[in-house]
């Protein structure tokens, strides 16, 4: 019976169009300076084991890819913007000494070679695949930028968030306007795969911010995560209306009605300190979450029940399902 299940699992994984990639660090009992257990970029292999790709690195916190070539990933890392080609195996640090401690990265799918990245000193872009870079900070001062996301439907349109609020640019970062969340530190911003006008942003203490007009304005949803810290947003690509958020305190929070109501779904989780979440686009209802210094957990029913999955003692900063082949 067990063999049959295993074969089934392997067959299912082999047939999957996407693979799960994780930016993580084995953090339990670790402090800077001590030997670092395998950390950095990992991919979920058929059979349920994780394989490390590229170098050991303590601070890979974000990743993205160009839909035209998903075998090349772009990593937001402590050492800079890293191009991880050959399915993550071959790394090159694209940036130089002028930027440090990246926080997020977003490839413009409609502008070849254009990659934006958020870092502690602001926001930069390359428009030539990493040969040259230019700053595109929304603000002259107080530049700390935590997250950036490009509109998948229009080149040069992007939203970023940082120390104080969300900013929208519609011309590749050449000019910006405040879109909302002023006074709140923005932790992450995401666009719905079902409705290009629907954007969400999570904050430190301020809860969830919602945009229904393509990121022009964000309003507080007022009913989830306020006074707590939310770290990640996952739209379920298989099920319109289903969204997961996560944070410390609320744990995993899921909405089945496009964010009108929310339910904490932490049954089977060892704590409610959750760093990241992601839905599997190939298996409806399959949701993955990173529990602080515990492991990755997986749910097959959109978070109603959980089981331990792998990457023991890790903190996964970001989990992404990335297609195996170009679209």
């Amino acid at each position: 019976m067990r063999s049959v299940l295993l074969v089934f699992a392997v067959a299912a994984a082999a047939a999957a169009e996407h693979r799960m990639w994780v930016c993580m660090r084995i953090q339990k009992n670790w402090v800077g300076g001590l030997p670092l257990k395998p950390s950095g970029l990992f991919v979920d292999s058929p059979g349920g084991t994780f394989e490390q790709r590229g170098y050991n690195h303590p601070l890979v916190v974000g990743l993205d890819y160009d839909p035209r070539d998903p075998s090349t990933l772009y990593l937001a890392a402590g050492n800079g913007l890293i191009r991880a080609s050959e399915r993550g195996r071959r790394w090159r640090i694209l940036t130089d000494h002028q930027v440090t401690e990246l926080r997020d990265v977003s490839v413009d799918p409609n502008a070849p070679g254009t990659i934006y990245f958020a870092h502690v000193g602001g926001l930069h872009v390359t428009r030539d695949g990493g040969a040259t870079f230019e700053p595109v900070h929304p603000l002259a001062r107080r530049r700390y930028t935590e997250t950036v996301r490009v509109d998948r439907t229009r080149a040069g349109r992007l939203v970023c968030g940082g120390e104080s609020g969300l900013y929208l640019s519609e011309n590749g970062g050449r000019s910006w306007r405040l879109a909302g969340g002023a006074g709140f530190q923005i932790m992450y911003v995401q666009q719905s795969p079902h409705d290009a006008d629907h954007w969400l942003a999570v904050t430190q203490l301020g809860g969830l911010l919602v945009s229904a007009d393509g990121g022009r304005t964000f309003e507080n949803s007022g009913n989830v995560g306020v006074h707590r810290n939310l770290y990640d947003i996952a739209f379920d690509p298989t099920t319109p209306g289903r969204i997961a958020l996560c944070g410390w305190g609320p744990g995993v929070v899921v909405s089945e009605d496009n964010g009108k109501t929310w339910e904490e779904r932490n049954h089977g989780l060892p704590s409610t300190a959750v760093w990241s979440v992601a839905f599997d686009p190939d298996r409806t209802g399959r949701l993955v979450a990173s529990l602080h210094e515990e492991a990755l957990y997986v749910s097959e029913d959109a978070g109603r029940n959980w089981r331990r999955y792998g990457l023991e003692e890790s903190v996964a900063y970001r989990i992404r399902f990335i297609p195996e082949a170009a679209r």
């Binding site: 790394w91 090159r92 530190q185 602080h292």
Partner: protein
């Protein structure tokens, strides 16, 4: 008189061998360590001495077995070994070293010393292994790309340091990781301009320390120190360098590895003028410095804020301070009085107060920490960070003024602040300690007399390891401190009378405010949140020099440093890369 004799006797007792002998002794101590801890330092030391190359090769191969760790603190030892090889290592050992620089990606880190170690090492290794493609480097960049990037960062660091000061300034520990990279470049950079600028930076950094040391102890405020060094002042990397460079203080039992790596590279001996500045305390002086904060990523309009330092030094003691506030995360030390002792080993020769502050705000200002885990992550390595009993760290609710050997520290701690009290450090090594009914405390440490007037009631609590913690649980608070040499008074009672005769007015509401006529006859006025005044004139922060005082002189943005001693002059000009 008796103390002066003791100091002289102690100096004689610690008479150090010549510089070259100190360097040799240090290298020998690492080449043949006690015990079985044979690491990269032993290899570097033996290669420097030309000893046992076969063992060095074998041991290097063992150490380079994956998984490697250490990041930039791995890069600089292996860089030294690569340059000390000089044909001694086996081909296999060399290949292992080369391969390690391809397969191991060191983290570049998040602060000034990390980046300097990283880029200095990368620069030298790219210079050593020229013409190699990106596939041969952990960066994925070619040797020439690595060399260019590293050179650009090093140049930018030199420019920023000589214009606005260091961010990690005057560190009791990290001084070593600024000196050793410059020693490497001064010895091993092939580019004569880089080599020269590195040597000039050695003069610059050593001058910074020389003018602000007392018998080898780095005095004054520090961007970073630690829980032990903040009270046992000599026990530090700076103390090691004091001995190595100038023969100051007792011979350390085993110097820190940073001093070793400094010595196996250029082993640069500072010019005589710096030795005179480091050792001559015959005339009291006030020394001024402007530094900058570490990178403030959040919550501030400017990336770097100014740090205004004042340090008064005389043979018997030093009094040093910054202006207060959070200038650095976690390990800042803002002010103290440090007195000279005959033998500093194990001695806690200092007095200070502080507000124990810890917060996510502080951490998010300087780091990329998220909100929930930042404090816990810091406490894992800096264990006292979130302790109410701690004696280390700055506070946004502390403001300080200093004039010569008088300090006024004021505190206005908002309600609901995590630790609503101030701590003071009362040493186990005081020669006299008197709590006077007037509210003043009188202390004597060797030949230093110290009067301290807490503005609120306090209790004294024992500290593990000796000494007591002055604990004063009031939000609006302060302390007025006046130091004086014992030679100015017949005894502590005479000092007490002189202090009690000084005019002191203060109020605590709405914020602390003090008017004090100092022992030096100056009228000091200081209200929390306002610019301090001396004899009616506000302190001139606008024109605070990068360096000012009898020994060092530099204007902000000048990229120059004038080193002075008597009629001697040595001028470093980083714009023209000249030393005159």
């Amino acid at each position: 008189m008796r103390g002066t004799l003791l100091v002289l006797l102690a100096t004689a007792a610690f008479a150090a061998p010549p510089f070259e002998a100190r360097v040799r002794e240090l290298i020998e101590s690492y080449a043949h360590p006690k015990g079985n801890d044979f690491g990269y330092a032993t290899i570097a030391a033996r290669l420097k001495l030309g000893q046992d190359p076969a063992w060095c090769s074998r041991r290097l191969i063992e150490l380079l077995e994956p998984p490697i760790h250490g990041d930039m603190f791995w890069m600089f030892p292996t860089t030294a070994i690569a340059y000390l090889d000089r044909g001694q290592l086996s081909q296999e050992a060399r290949q292992a070293l080369r391969e390690a620089w391809r397969t191991y990606m060191p983290f570049r880190g998040d602060t000034e010393n990390h980046w300097l170690l990283y880029y200095t090492s990368l620069y030298l290794m790219a210079q050593l292994w020229r013409g190699e493609p990106g596939e041969r480097w952990f960066t994925g960049k070619s040797s020439e790309e690595n060399l260019r990037e590293a050179a650009a960062w090093i140049d930018s660091w030199i420019r920023l340091t000589t214009r606005r000061g260091q961010g990690e300034y005057d560190c009791t520990h990290y001084i070593g990781v600024f000196l050793l990279p410059m020693s490497y470049l001064a010895a091993w950079a092939e580019d004569p301009v880089m080599r020269k600028r590195a040597q000039m930076m050695l003069d610059y950094l050593i001058a910074d320390y020389a003018a602000e040391n007392l018998d080898g102890i780095y005095v004054g405020s520090h961007a970073r120190t630690d829980d032990k060094m903040v009270i046992e002042k000599w026990h530090s990397v700076a103390g090691d360098f004091g001995y190595l460079l100038f023969g100051l203080g007792p011979r350390p039992a085993l110097m820190n590895g940073y001093a070793l790596y400094y010595s196996v590279a250029s082993a640069y001996r500072p010019p005589a003028i710096l030795e005179r500045i480091a050792t001559d305390r015959s005339t009291p002086y006030t020394h001024y410095e402007r530094k900058r904060t570490r990178n403030r990523w959040r919550f501030h309009d400017e990336l770097h804020g100014p740090v205004y330092k004042t340090t008064y030094i005389r043979r018997e003691y030093a009094v040093g301070s910054d202006q207060g506030g959070i200038l650095q995360p976690i390990q800042q030390h803002s002010w103290d009085v440090t007195w000279a002792v005959a033998d500093p080993r194990g001695v806690h020769n200092t007095f200070f107060t502080m507000h124990p502050y810890s917060s996510l705000y502080e951490l998010q200002t300087y780091f990329s920490f998220g909100p929930d885990f930042g404090v816990e992550e810091v406490v894992r390595s800096k264990r006292t960070y979130d302790s109410p009993d701690k004696l280390l760290g700055g506070s946004p609710f502390e403001k300080i003024m200093q004039d010569e050997d008088t300090v006024i520290a004021l505190y206005a701690i908002p309600p609901l602040t995590r630790f609503p009290h101030i701590n003071g450090f009362i040493s186990k090594d005081l020669d006299e300690f008197v709590e006077d009914p007037s509210g003043w405390i009188f202390l004597r440490g060797n030949q230093a007399l110290i009067a301290a007037r807490p503005l609120q009631r306090y209790a004294l609590k024992p500290i593990q390891g000796g000494g007591r913690r002055l604990f004063s649980p009031y939000l609006n608070n302060g302390v007025v401190v006046q130091a004086a040499p014992a030679s100015e008074f017949a005894n502590l009672e005479a000092f007490r009378k002189a202090i009690l005769a000084l005019e002191l007015d203060y109020r605590l509401e709405p914020v602390p405010s003090v008017r004090f006529r100092s022992l030096r006859g100056r009228r000091l006025e200081f209200t929390y949140g306002e610019t301090p005044r001396v004899d009616g004139r506000p302190l001139d922060y606008e024109n605070w020099p990068l360096f000012g005082g009898p020994f060092l002189e530099a204007a902000v943005d000048s990229e120059q440093l004038l080193i002075k001693y008597g009629s001697e002059r040595r001028k470093l000009d980083f714009r023209r890369n000249t030393v005159e």
